[in-house]
Structures are given as structure tokens and as C-alpha cells.
């Protein structure tokens, strides 16, 4: 398993795993979880303590657990922008919606295009995803035949025991677009 990767100008360092009690997205009470920890650092004094949480009930998400002295607009990631991870047969997938800035520099998750993500990363997105063991970036329709309202949202899949892929996709779609000044 890769321990350190570059996500454009950001550095993502794997920091090991531990047990923790936390609340899954959309769940009222806290549960036991295994957290895979990563440290995302980079320009602008970005220093985000990040975790890929795998809960005892099977729920999974990636979130920032400590923002430290990281300045705005990244502080928003301390209480928003969690990346939901969902099962897909034997694998898992997540969407590639991105944090974009709006009025007053307040950011939230918005749909993003392949070209946008590539421009933030500064290199081929699918090569990057492949390097961390994830699939190509595809629409939900192409990835798993979704016919609903979100069928055009981009997503990528990865094996359940690959914890670097979701952490890398989190860095790619949360702090990186904010660093690059992505706007709604």
C-alpha cells in the first residue's frame, strides 16, 4: 500500500489506523469505527488531519477531523464536505463532487466535470486514479447503470480494502479545488 502521494501541489501522508467512536453521515448515534488517518498538507498553510472511517454498521466516509491552524477557506472542511463511500457489489464507490467557493468565500459541494478536476490536478485524472488503485472517473450511469436524477454525477470505484483511493479522491475534490480557487 502506498504511504505518501502527491495530489497536485498537496501532499497526502498515510498516518496509520486506530479505533474510534464517531457518528456516520445521516445516523443519529455514535458507533465504533476503524479510522485510516491521513495528513493533507500543502501551500496556504493547509494542514488537515483527515480520516477514512469504516463503521461497524458498514457505513464509510472520509472527513477532516482536525483543521488546526489551517486558514480559510479550508476551515469549512472541518464541518462540511464529507465524502460518502458506498458499496458497489464487491467494491465501493464515491462521487467526485467538488468543494467550490461562492459568495463571501463560503464553499459547498457542487458537481464538477472531468476537465475541471484535471485542471486542478495539473495532470491526467484517470492516470492519477489508476495510480491509487481506483477506477476511471465515470458518470454514475456508466459506473453502475444509475438512471436517477444523479446519473450524470462523476464517480470512481475501488476495492473495499483500498483506503488510499478514497483519501486521495477526498484531497482531489475538497482542499485542492479550494486551493485552485474553484468557484460555483
Amino acid at each position: 500500500m502506498i504511504a505518501n502521494i502527491s495530489v497536485g501541489p498537496l501532499k497526502l501522508q498515510y498516518m496509520g489506523e486506530s479505533k474510534v467512536e464517531a457518528t456516520p453521515i445521516g445516523f443519529g448515534e455514535s458507533l465504533q469505527a476503524t479510522q485510516h488517518l491521513a495528513f493533507i498538507t500543502g501551500p496556504d498553510q493547509i494542514a488537515l488531519e483527515t480520516a477514512y472511517l469504516i463503521f461497524e454498521n458498514g457505513d464509510r466516509d472520509v472527513r477532516v477531523i482536525e483543521t488546526g491552524d489551517t486558514p480559510n477557506p479550508y476551515l469549512r472542511l472541518g464541518h462540511g464536505g464529507r465524502l460518502g463511500i458506498y458499496s458497489l457489489g464487491n467494491d465501493y464507490y464515491c462521487e467526485a463532487r467538488a468543494m467550490k467557493l461562492g459568495d463571501e468565500n463560503w464553499s459547498n459541494l457542487q458537481n464538477s466535470t472531468y476537465a475541471e478536476i484535471e485542471s486542478w490536478l495539473g495532470s491526467n485524472v484517470n492516470d492519477f486514479l489508476s495510480s491509487v488503485g481506483a477506477s476511471e472517473l465515470l458518470t454514475r450511469e456508466r459506473l453502475f447503470g444509475d438512471e436517477g436524477r444523479r446519473r450524470n454525477v462523476l464517480a470512481a470505484s475501488f476495492p473495499g480494502d483500498n483506503f488510499m483511493a478514497p483519501l486521495a479522491i477526498f484531497a482531489l475534490t475538497r482542499p485542492l479545488p479550494l486551493l485552485k480557487g474553484a468557484r460555483k
Binding site: G26, Q45, G68
Partner: protein
């Protein structure tokens, strides 16, 4: 207003001390002018006037003692009730406008911190205070002007203890704001989840109405029922959105204050403000750790180098650069992190002085953690 709110006057020409003076001068203006508005407007419009004003403007977060608000509210809104309590004429509002710009520059660290720039701001603050009038603030600004002029003439002042206390207080305020933000995170997240579910429900109801319209046209009773359900879902979602927005706005305001305080703290560190205060203090500066055990109160000043003790990683990293100390110093840095977490299990900010003495706040106390051997 009490004597304790007097401005902390600089005892040397130092960028950090001067910025701290101006920062506090604006905070004093916010408090004094906000109280002035309250005392003049409440008897006429009632105690809910601020709330009504905020609601009318669609802005849920009005804070009458915010230095920015007290300036821009009358400046940008000719019909604002605050104008009734202020002098008339373009001369006064020109000064207010200049002050609002100066406040932005100081609070967002876009100012060179020179003594001349600070004097201009204090003179403007004095003029505005005398015109309103705000007597306490006026006297404080006059004291500030006198002190800056004396420093310019080379006078030396001792006794900067109040300035040191102010720096410590500022750090504590930042820590408290961080804690408050953390408490709000979970609450906001829960509201976001409920809101997103409600918005999904609205979308489903809309879809239901659309399908029914396609199947049976516009006259069927089922359509009326579906529309009713759609309206109820929309109403619920709107209410939840208002609650969510209010909470997010509250947090955003706290984060804005936190950011401003952190910017000021950075200036204080970069301009070696604490060192500058100490250099003119007569007080002896003990910084020998021989008689102090880890966990004891630290009898001296804290160091200017900042580290973060991460509970999650059980590691130390440079607060400014994010560089993990274990990358540079190996296992010794990880061992130190684990030792210090025994003393301060909640982690957080660590201060290291030039001799390698590491300290941290536990509550209001500055405690000694140990020596950073690889730096000393």
C-alpha cells in the same frame, strides 16, 4: 465601561504592539458605539430594534458591538436608525468610510504596522468619538496618540505586563473560538443531514406530481393531494433551511473573528512582539527549566515557535508549515508526542522557546511539558 478596558499602550516601536493597539482601539469603538446605538435607539424603537433590522435585511447575524457593523451599518444604509444618533454631514461619513477601510486593512493584516499609519487611525477614531460623542473611547484614543508621539520622540517605557497579558488573552480567545467551532460542527452536520433528506423529499414529491400530470392530466383529485404533500414538504424544507443557514452564519461569524485573531497572532510572532515587550521590562525573565517538572506551571514566558500536538496522529507537527517532526527527527519526535499527550491528552498548540522549553495551556495555566532535546 470599566478601567480594565483601557487600551494596552505599546512600550516600544514594534509592529506587533502597534497593531495590537489599533486592533483593540477598533474593538473599543465597536463596544462604545454599539452601546451608544442601544442607549439611544431602544427607548424609541423598543428592545427588538436590532432583530427587526436584521430580519428586514435578510441577514440573521447582527452584532451591535462588531467594529465593522457599527461603521458600515450607518454608512451603507441612509435609512438606518443608527443615523439618527450620529452627527450629520458628508465630513463625518467620509471619516467613517476611511475608518471602515482602515479596520479592514488592520483586521486582515493588510497594513504595514507603521507608527505613522497607526497615528492617522487613532486621530480619526478620536475625531469620530468626539463628534458623536463617545467620551471614554475619546480619552483612550487621546492616550494612544500621546504614547505613539512619545515613542516617536525616543522616549522609553517600562512595564509592558499588560501587553503580555493581552497577548495571552488573545491566544486563549483563539483557543476558545476553536473549541466553540468544534462543538458546532456536529450540530451543523446533523442539521445538514436532516435538511438534505427534506430536500430529497421535495424532489420526490415534485416527481410524483409530474408523473401524475403526465398520466391523468391536471384535473384529477390525486394531483391536488400530491400538490398538497409537495407544498408541505417544501414548507418543512424551507424552515429547516432557515435554521441551518442561521447556524452556519453563526459559525461563519465566529470563524471570521477567529481568523482575524489568528492573523494578529501571526503578526505578533513575526514581529517578535513578546520579545520587544520583555526587552524593555525591568522584570527578570526566568526561563530555566531546572526547577520545573513536566506538568508544573511555567514561571516564565512561553516560546514563540509553534507546534501542534496531534491527538489523532500522536505526532507533533510544525503549526505553520504542517511538517511532521518525525520526518526530520525520527522516533525521538514521536516519543516526545506520546510523552506530552500523557500530560496534555487533548493535544493542541505547543510553544517552544529558544532553549527548547516546551509549554502549553491547560485551562488558563501555562504548563511546562519538557525539553525538545533535538533543538536545544
Amino acid at each position: 465601561m470599566t478601567e480594565s478596558r483601557k487600551l494596552n499602550l505599546p512600550n516600544a516601536i514594534n509592529e506587533g504592539q502597534i497593531k495590537l493597539l489599533i486592533f483593540d482601539a477598533f474593538i473599543l469603538l465597536g463596544e462604545e458605539l454599539g452601546n451608544h446605538y442601544e442607549s439611544k435607539i431602544t427607548p424609541i424603537l423598543g428592545k427588538n430594534w436590532v432583530y427587526e433590522l436584521a430580519r428586514g435585511r435578510g441577514d440573521l447575524e447582527y452584532n451591535t458591538t462588531d467594529p465593522q457593523w457599527v461603521l458600515v451599518e450607518p454608512l451603507r444604509n441612509p435609512t438606518s436608525p443608527t443615523r439618527l444618533t450620529l452627527p450629520k454631514g458628508p465630513g463625518f461619513y467620509n471619516r467613517v468610510s476611511t475608518l471602515a477601510k482602515a479596520r479592514n486593512a488592520y483586521f486582515h493584516n493588510n497594513n504595514n504596522g507603521s507608527i505613522e499609519a497607526a497615528l492617522r487611525v487613532l486621530e480619526l477614531l478620536l475625531e469620530v468619538s468626539l463628534a458623536i460623542p463617545l467620551d471614554f473611547a475619546g480619552n483612550a484614543y487621546a492616550d494612544g496618540i500621546r504614547r505613539l508621539n512619545s515613542l516617536k520622540q525616543g522616549e522609553v517605557f517600562h512595564g509592558g505586563e499588560s501587553n503580555l497579558k493581552r497577548v495571552v488573552l488573545l491566544e486563549q480567545q483563539v483557543a476558545e473560538l476553536e473549541e466553540l467551532a468544534n462543538l458546532n460542527k456536529e450540530l451543523i452536520h446533523k442539521r445538514q443531514v436532516v435538511l438534505e433528506e427534506a430536500l430529497d423529499d421535495v424532489a420526490l414529491q415534485q416527481e410524483k406530481v409530474r408523473e401524475l400530470e403526465e398520466k391523468v392530466g391536471n384535473k384529477d383529485q390525486a394531483i391536488a393531494q400530491a400538490r398538497k404533500e409537495q407544498e408541505a414538504a417544501e414548507k418543512l424544507a424551507l424552515g429547516l433551511k432557515a435554521e441551518y443557514d442561521a447556524k452556519v452564519a453563526e459559525l461563519a461569524e465566529k470563524e471570521a473573528i477567529e481568523r482575524q485573531y489568528k492573523e494578529l497572532l501571526r503578526t505578533l510572532v513575526e514581529s517578535k512582539t513578546v520579545e520587544s515587550i520583555n526587552s524593555t521590562n525591568t522584570k527578570s525573565n526566568k526561563s530555566d527549566s531546572h526547577d520545573v517538572a513536566p506538568g508544573d506551571n511555567w514561571p516564565s514566558e512561553k516560546g514563540s515557535r509553534r507546534l501542534t500536538l496531534s491527538v489523532n496522529f500522536r505526532e507533533l507537527y510544525d503549526t505553520k508549515s504542517g511538517e511532521l517532526l518525525k520526518e526530520k527527527f525520527g522516533d525521538a519526535a514521536s516519543a516526545l508526542a506520546n510523552e506530552w499527550l500523557e500530560i496534555k491528552p487533548q493535544g493542541g498548540r505547543i510553544f517552544v522557546d529558544e532553549k527548547g522549553n516546551a509549554t502549553a495551556y491547560r485551562g488558563e495555566d501555562l504548563i511546562y511539558l519538557g525539553k525538545v532535546s533535538f533543538w536545544a
